[in-house]
């Protein structure tokens, strides 16, 4: 029995299709959706925890990829280099979970690690490259 967190990137035309429910029906996997949102490219983005047998998990992943869904394992962490962040706010436009938000009092951009799903969308959008992928 394994339990893994993954990020699924759905192409925009597939967002509504019941691809994920097939994982339960045809592959015997259990899943728990942690976060769901739409990225700037209007892809669907699902963060979920999948539980099941290793071989079912591998087959399930294969099935997802055949459907055009990009599967990104959530093994890494996104952290902020506080020295480089200028609190400009450019990342606010892309963060799908509001892990990055503006504090209206200090006018500083707060990074809430708890809310971050490590989708990496902010990494290349941050002008001084303060958001870093840590392994």
């Amino acid at each position: 029995m394994i339990r893994r967190k993954v990020v699924l990137h759905f192409p925009r035309e597939k967002v509504d299709k019941p691809i994920v429910s097939k994982l339960v029906r045809d592959y015997g996997l259990d899943f728990n959706i942690l976060k769901a949102s739409i990225t700037p490219r209007e892809e669907g983005l699902l963060v979920m925890e999948i539980t099941g047998e290793e071989k079912d998990y591998q087959r399930g992943l294969e099935y997802l990829e055949n459907c055009g869904v990009r599967v990104q394992p959530l093994s890494q962490d996104v952290a902020r280099n506080e020295d480089r962040c200028t609190h400009c706010g450019a990342c606010l436009a892309v963060c799908p979970t509001r892990a990055l938000y503006m504090d209206s009092e200090s006018m500083q951009v707060i990074f809430d690690r708890e809310e971050c799903v490590a989708c990496e969308l902010c990494v290349k959008v941050c002008p001084p490259r303060a958001m870093e992928i840590r392994y």
């Binding site: 700037p40 200028t86 400009c88 706010g89 606010l92 436009a93 503006m102 209206s104 002008p127």
Partner: protein
């Protein structure tokens, strides 16, 4: 009743000057009224911190032995302009390192450019110099490679032909594809609205008719001292204005210059704009001498009285149609959401308000402690409204 800059400087020297930031003056005027504030306050400090592409460093390398007339030069592989005297060069903020893939794989990352070299120099880091020449009788050296730091340079000046835009566009995207612009990532179908001004803290929005800021004004530049050396390129003060005289479109600009050696990497930061290019975020703070009540009135405007034009960056901006979708106030922009064409749109800024505030506070401290005196502009910047004697 008016004050002169000499009188204000006397008060600064004797440690008696009253200095407030452009944020603080708003409430002060609400409480005490323009007249009282004009009498009490001597200087209003402003600040802005954001990407300013028209920036660069003017560098003199000092001659190697034998001497050299540099024809081509690179700093950390970023080409510098060498079409001036022998060992002088100009390193532009948006120049990219050689062999950068640019936008070949779209959107390009633009990891390292001129702005980053400037940040590294100011941080005291070693920078790799490569220079070539064809050799002359007076300047025989043909190749020069060295590691340099800012301390090795006889001269290193920041010289920015256009900074501190007085107001700027709010960028949106009406198309159905994502756009990567100098205004950041714009999501399709009015997905977000990006703006870039410190609004009520911004230098030129606090002196909308350039009554005090002119050629020779001493300023906070990149963490050190600089000067306004002229109007900036594209300085265009002849735009629609509010009743208080504040421009509702991008308007005036400043050309600024200062000694890079006294500056800090906290206020000069290399930026990479995804799919667009590299640039330099510059921190600027301009002191405004309280000469009379009019100065106070103009500086006391708040974000709710300042308006920016909303512009579509899918067609209107790139094609230069001049179409404006509407106007929104900086207070609305700062609230995190604005209404555009009937849709609620989340906003994000590219200009750091918190760092603009930090700069205005730092400049205030410098003036209060007597280490920063004001200068008399030798010439005011062009502004038809002021020249016609208007403004109201």
């Amino acid at each position: 009743m008016g004050k002169t800059i000499q009188e204000i400087n006397e008060r600064i020297k004797s440690g008696k000057a009253v200095v407030v930031t452009a944020e603080e003056i708003i409430d002060l005027v609400r409480e005490k009224g323009v007249e009282k504030v004009a009498r009490r306050v001597d200087v209003i400090t402003t600040g802005t911190f954001g990407p300013m592409c028209s920036s660069g460093a003017l560098i003199n390398l000092g001659h190697p032995k034998p001497r050299m007339k540099i024809h081509r030069a690179w700093l950390n592989d970023v080409p510098a302009y060498c079409g001036i005297a022998a060992v002088d060069l100009y390193l532009g903020a948006t120049e990219m390192a050689e062999h950068d893939p640019l936008n070949e794989v779209f959107p390009g990352e633009f990891r390292y450019g001129g702005g980053h070299v400037i940040e590294d120099l100011v941080a005291g880091k070693k920078v790799r110099l490569r220079a070539e020449s064809y050799g002359t009788d007076c300047y025989p050296l043909r190749k020069w490679e060295a590691e340099i730091t800012i301390h090795d340079l006889p001269d290193a000046r920041l010289f920015n032909p256009r900074n501190a835009y007085q107001n700027y566009n709010v960028a949106v995207n009406l198309s159905d594809r994502v756009l990567y612009t100098y205004m950041g990532v714009l999501r399709p179908n009015l997905g977000n609205a990006n703006y870039c001004s410190a609004g009520q803290l911004s230098p030129l929005l606090n002196d909308p008719l350039f009554r005090t800021i002119g050629v020779g004004t001493r300023i906070f530049l990149g963490g050190g001292i600089g000067y306004v050396v002229d109007r900036g390129t594209q300085h265009n003060p002849d735009v629609p204005r509010t009743k208080s005289g504040h421009p509702k479109r991008p308007s005036g600009t400043l050309a600024v210059m200062g000694d890079l050696k006294g500056m800090s990497p906290r206020y000069l930061v290399g930026y990479s704009m995804l799919g667009y290019g590299a640039t330099l975020a510059v921190g600027i703070g301009v002191p405004i001498p309280v000469l009379d009540e009019e100065v106070v009135e103009a500086a006391a405007v708040s974000d709710s009285d300042l308006y920016a034009p909303v512009v579509d960056y899918s067609v209107d901006y790139p094609q230069g149609t001049g179409r404006v979708l509407g106007e929104v106030s900086y207070a609305q922009l700062r609230s995190g959401e604005v209404e555009i064409l009937g849709k609620r749109v989340p906003t994000a800024s590219l200009s750091s308000y918190s760092r603009a505030r930090e700069i205005a506070c730092l400049l205030k401290e410098w003036i209060q402690s007597g280490r920063f005196l004001l200068t008399e502009p030798v010439e005011l910047l062009p502004c038809p409204v002021r020249e016609r004697g208007g403004g109201k």
